[in-house]
C-alpha cells in the first residue's frame, strides 16, 4: 500500500467521522459529498471532485462501506451525462447540471437510437434547425430508458444534411419537459416496457445547450458510449442497495428500486443457467438421455465462457495486453442465453407453451423463453460484434463503406424513419 493511499484513507475516515449520519436526508448527504469532493473523488477539484486518480476510488469506497456510509451510485444515464459534460461541456453546463447529477435530483435519458438507425447510430436523421435564436428539433428516438421520468435528455441530432454523415451531427442537452417532447412506452415481445419512444415535434433547445462544437456530435457521443459500456459492467453490483437501518437507507432503496425497475427481466434475458439443474431434477427431465446431453452442452458452454472471462480479467490485472479472449464475452453470452432457452424448453415440455401463473415458476421460465433474443441484439448485435472482432482482433479487411465522403443527403436510407 502506497503512502498516498494510506493518507487518502485517513482523510476519508476523518471526514466521514465528522459528517456521516444515517439520519441525514439523502439529498442533504449527497450535497455534502458534492461540496467535499468525496462523492466523486476522481472528478476535478473545481467540479465537486478531488483530482484523485480513479485507481484510488475503490479504497475510498471501501472506507465508506466499512461504516455503512452511502456513496454516489456510479451508474445510470446521469453518470453518462456527467462524464460527457466533464469532457465536452461548457462551464455553464457543469455549473447547472453536475451538482444535481450527484444528488440524484435530476433524471437523465439518452436520445441516440432511432427507428431508422440502430446498429448504425451515426445515421441519425432527427434534425435540429436554427430558427431565430433557438434550435428546433424534429424526429423520433427509440430505446430510451427513463424518458418518461427524465428532466434532461442527451440528444444526437443532424444539423447539416450537406455535410458527411459523421460531420453533420451535433450534440445537445434537451429539456424533456416541454410540449414538443412526447414520450410513449415501447412494449417489448416479453410484455415489459423498459424503454420508451420519444417523438420530437418542434421541440426547442437553446443555443447554450449545445455540447461541443457544431458538427462534433459524433465525437461527443463516442464519449457517452464509451462510458455506457463501463456502466453496463457495473450494473449488477449497483442493483444491490446498501443494507442498513435509517431513513437515508430507505430513501436509497426506493431510488434503487425505481432505477432498477426496467432491468427486472435482465436475468431471464441471460437464460437463467442457474435454474437448469434444479428444474431438471424437479421435473424428472434429468432422466432423459437426450435432455442430459443438452444440459451438459449448455453447462460446457456456460463454464467455458465463464473461464474465458476469468482468463481475460487475469490478463488485465497483470497488465498484459488484451488477448482475443477479452473480446468474446458478449458473443458467448448470446450463445449461452440461446442454449439455455432451448434447454429450459426441453425441461418444461408442454408447459413451455404456457405463461404467467399457469406456467413453471410463476412465469419465470416463460419469461426466459421470450426474453433471450434481446441478448444477441441489445448493446450491439452479434453480427456487429463479429464485424468488430474480425476487423480489430483478426485484422481482416474492413467492410466496404457506401456512406463516407459524400453528403449525408445522398446516402440511401430507410424510407420509414
Amino acid at each position: 500500500m502506497s503512502m498516498n493511499e494510506e493518507q487518502v484513507r485517513n482523510e476519508v475516515r476523518e471526514w466521514l467521522k465528522e459528517n456521516w449520519s444515517p439520519n441525514l436526508d439523502l439529498v442533504e448527504w449527497r450535497l455534502k459529498l458534492a461540496d467535499s469532493g468525496w462523492g466523486m473523488a476522481n472528478w476535478p477539484a473545481e467540479w465537486y471532485g478531488r483530482d484523485l486518480p480513479v485507481s484510488l476510488v475503490p479504497a475510498i469506497e471501501e472506507e465508506f462501506n466499512k461504516i455503512g456510509a452511502l456513496t454516489i451510485p456510479k451508474s445510470g444515464i446521469r453518470m453518462l451525462a456527467a462524464a460527457t459534460i466533464l469532457n465536452h461541456g461548457s462551464d455553464m453546463h457543469k455549473e447547472k447540471f453536475l451538482k444535481r447529477i450527484i444528488t440524484g435530483e435530476d433524471v437523465w435519458c439518452q436520445l441516440f437510437s432511432e427507428p431508422g438507425s440502430g446498429s448504425d447510430l451515426a445515421g441519425a436523421t432527427t434534425k435540429a434547425v436554427m430558427v431565430g435564436n433557438k434550435w428546433v428539433v424534429n424526429g423520433q428516438k427509440v430505446w430510451t430508458t427513463s424518458a418518461h421520468k427524465a428532466h434532461w435528455g442527451l440528444l444526437l441530432a443532424r444539423t447539416d444534411m450537406d455535410d458527411t454523415k459523421h460531420r453533420g451531427l451535433s450534440y445537445f442537452i434537451i429539456d424533456m419537459n416541454q410540449p414538443g417532447v412526447e414520450t410513449q412506452p415501447l412494449m417489448q415481445m416479453n410484455g415489459h416496457a423498459s424503454f420508451n419512444q420519444v417523438f420530437l415535434t418542434d421541440a426547442e433547445v437553446l443555443p447554450d445547450f449545445q455540447v461541443g462544437e457544431l458538427g462534433d456530435g459524433w465525437q461527443v457521443a463516442t464519449t457517452t458510449l464509451m462510458h455506457e459500456r463501463r456502466a453496463a459492467d457495473s450494473l449488477r453490483s449497483w442493483g444491490q442497495a446498501s443494507k442498513g437501518d435509517g431513513p437515508i437507507y430507505d430513501q436509497e432503496r426506493v431510488e434503487t428500486e425505481t432505477t432498477m425497475q426496467p432491468y427486472k427481466w435482465y436475468p431471464q434475458r441471460a437464460g437463467r443457467v442457474d435454474l437448469i439443474m434444479d428444474r431438471a431434477k424437479e421435473t424428472g427431465a434429468i432422466k432423459d438421455p437426450a435432455i442430459r446431453q443438452e444440459i451438459a452442452k449448455l453447462m460446457t458452454l456456460h463454464k467455458s465462457a465463464e473461464w474465458t472471462a476469468r482468463r481475460a480479467r487475469a490478463a488485465q490485472e497483470q497488465g498484459k495486453p488484451q488477448g482475443p479472449e477479452g473480446s468474446l464475452g458478449k458473443l458467448a453470452a448470446s450463445n449461452v442465453a440461446r442454449a439455455a432457452a432451448k434447454v429450459h424448453t426441453l425441461i418444461s415440455g408442454a408447459n413451455a407453451m404456457l405463461t404467467g401463473e399457469d406456467s413453471p415458476m410463476d412465469g419465470t421460465i416463460a419469461e426466459i423463453l421470450v426474453s433471450f433474443p434481446a441478448s444477441s441484439i441489445a448493446g450491439g448485435t452479434d453480427e456487429i460484434q463479429k464485424n468488430i472482432i474480425s476487423e480489430r482482433v483478426l485484422n481482416m479487411p474492413k467492410e466496404t463503406r457506401f456512406d463516407a465522403d459524400k453528403p449525408f443527403k445522398d446516402i440511401p436510407r430507410n424510407t420509414v424513419s
Partner: protein
C-alpha cells in the same frame, strides 16, 4: 486458482514453439507418419534430451522434474500444434500416470525414472475391441499361477502399442474370496504369446495397435488394492492432457486458415473481405478460445486438487472434441478445393481432430460423465 500463465511458463512455451517448429515441420510429420513405427528413436531422442519433456511431470523422487499438469499441458499443447510424431502421450501421459497412481512403490522406482529419461517407451493397454473407454468395462482376466500371472485376450486401440518397449495392461484378477478386482500388469513387448498388430488408423500421426495375448507371462505391478480409482485418476488426467493437446492443434489450424483467407483473391478481392468469411473466422476464434479456457482451467484445477475435477475434465474434453473437429471442418471449407487435397497440410490436423475427438471418449460420452457427477 490461477487464470493466467506465469512469465516463466510463457517463456517456456514460446521457446518450445520455436523449437518444435524447427524440429517438426510438416515435411517431417509427413515423413514419419508414412512409416509403420510412426516415430524415430534418434529424432525423438534429440527433441527429448534437450528439453527433458518426458520428465516434466514425473515427481522428482522418481527421476522427474516434478512439475504439475499445467506445465505438462503446455508441452502437450505445443506438440498438438506441431503434430510432433513421438511416443509422448502413450509413455509420459497414459502409462506414466497409470504407474504413478496404480503401481506399487517397487515398480514406480523401476519404471518411472526410465520413462522420465526417455530411455523406456511404454504403452497402456486398457481398451478392448468394444472400444469402450470406461475403466470398469474391461473383460480381460489374468490367471494366477504359482509365481506369476498369465494373460489371454485382446487389447485394442492401444496407442503406440506396436512399438513400445513395455506394455502395461489393465486386467481383472479373481481374488481368493471369489470377488474380482482390477490390477495392473507389466508385459515385455517381446514376450512369448504376444502378437502386436498395427491398425490402419486414419490419423497416421497417431498409431494404434491391437495386442493379442495368448497365455502371456505378466507381472502384477499394483498392490493388493483395486486400481479402479487410480485408473480413473489416470483417465481424467489424460483427458485433460489430451484436451490441451487438441486446443493446440485447433489454434494452429485456425491461424493457418485465417492467413490463407487473407491471401486468397477471388472476384477481384480478398476472400477475407467477405462478411460471411469474417463471421466464420470469428466463430472459429470463439470455439477455440472457449475450448482453450476449459483446457487450461482443467489443468490448473487438477493441480489445485479441485473437488469437481471429474466433471471439469469432461467439460474440457467435450469442449475440445467439438471445437477441434468444428475448426477442422471450417478450415477445409475455407480453403476450398485446395483444402481437400493431400498436398495441402490441412488434412493432417483434420485427421488428428477426428482421432482425438474419439480417443478417450467422444463429447457425448463426456457429457454423460458430467451429468453423472452432478446428478448423484
Amino acid at each position: 486458482m490461477k487464470f493466467s500463465f506465469s512469465e516463466e511458463q510463457e517463456e517456456f512455451r514460446s521457446f518450445l514453439r520455436r523449437f518444435l517448429e524447427e524440429k517438426s515441420p510438416t515435411t517431417e510429420v509427413r515423413r514419419l507418419m508414412a512409416t509403420d513405427a510412426g516415430w524415430e528413436k534418434e529424432q525423438w531422442r534429440k527433441v527429448n534430451t534437450e528439453l527433458g519433456l518426458t520428465a516434466i511431470a514425473i515427481p522428482e523422487e522418481y527421476g522427474g522434474q516434478g512439475f504439475g499438469l499445467s506445465e505438462q499441458c503446455i508441452v502437450l499443447e505445443e506438440m498438438g500444434r506441431s503434430l510432433l510424431c513421438a511416443p509422448y502421450f502413450s509413455s509420459a501421459v497414459l502409462t506414466a500416470n497409470a504407474i504413478l497412481y496404480g503401481a506399487s512403490e517397487e515398480y514406480k522406482k523401476k519404471y518411472l525414472p526410465e520413462i522420465a529419461s526417455g530411455d523406456l517407451t511404454a504403452s497402456l493397454a486398457f481398451t478392448e475391441e468394444t472400444g469402450a473407454w470406461g475403466i470398469s468395462s474391461m473383460s480381460m482376466c489374468a490367471e494366477k499361477t504359482e509365481n506369476t500371472y498369465r494373460l489371454t485376450g485382446v487389447k485394442s486401440f492401444v496407442l503406440d502399442g506396436h512399438m513400445s518397449d513395455l506394455i502395461i495392461v489393465l486386467a481383472k484378477v479373481n481374488d481368493n474370496s471369489g470377488s474380482q478386482r482390477l490390477a495392473l500388469f507389466s508385459v515385455d513387448s517381446t514376450a512369448t504369446g504376444l502378437t502386436k498388430n498395427l491398425l490402419n488408423s486414419t490419423d497416421q500421426t497417431r498409431k494404434l495397435a491391437k495386442l493379442m495375448f495368448t497365455d502371456v507371462e505378466a507381472t502384477c505391478i499394483s498392490s493388493e488394492d483395486d486400481v479402479t480409482e487410480a485408473m480413473q485418476k489416470t483417465f481424467l488426467k489424460s483427458c485433460i492432457g489430451l484436451s490441451n493437446e487438441m486446443v493446440g492443434g485447433a489454434e494452429r489450424l485456425r491461424e493457418d486458415t485465417l492467413e490463407y483467407v487473407k491471401m486468397r483473391m477471388q472476384f477481384g478481392r480478398s476472400i477475407a473481405s467477405f462478411q460471411v468469411t469474417k463471421h466464420k473466422a470469428t466463430d472459429m476464434l470463439a470455439d477455440v478460445e472457449l475450448a482453450k479456457s476449459a483446457a487450461y482451467y482443467a489443468a490448473a484445477a487438477f493441480d489445485d486438487g479441485e473437488s469437481d475435477i471429474a466433471a471439469t475434465a469432461s467439460i474440457a474434453k467435450a469442449s475440445a472434441s467439438e471445437a477441434y473437429m468444428q475448426t477442422a471442418i471450417n478450415a477445409v471449407q475455407m480453403h476450398g478445393g485446395i483444402g481437400f487435397t493431400w498436398d495441402n497440410d490441412t488434412h493432417l490436423w483434420f485427421k488428428r481432430a477426428k482421432s482425438s475427438e474419439v480417443f478417450l471418449g467422444t463429447a457425448d460420452f463426456h457429457r454423460e460423465l458430467m451429468m453423472q457427477s452432478w446428478d448423484q
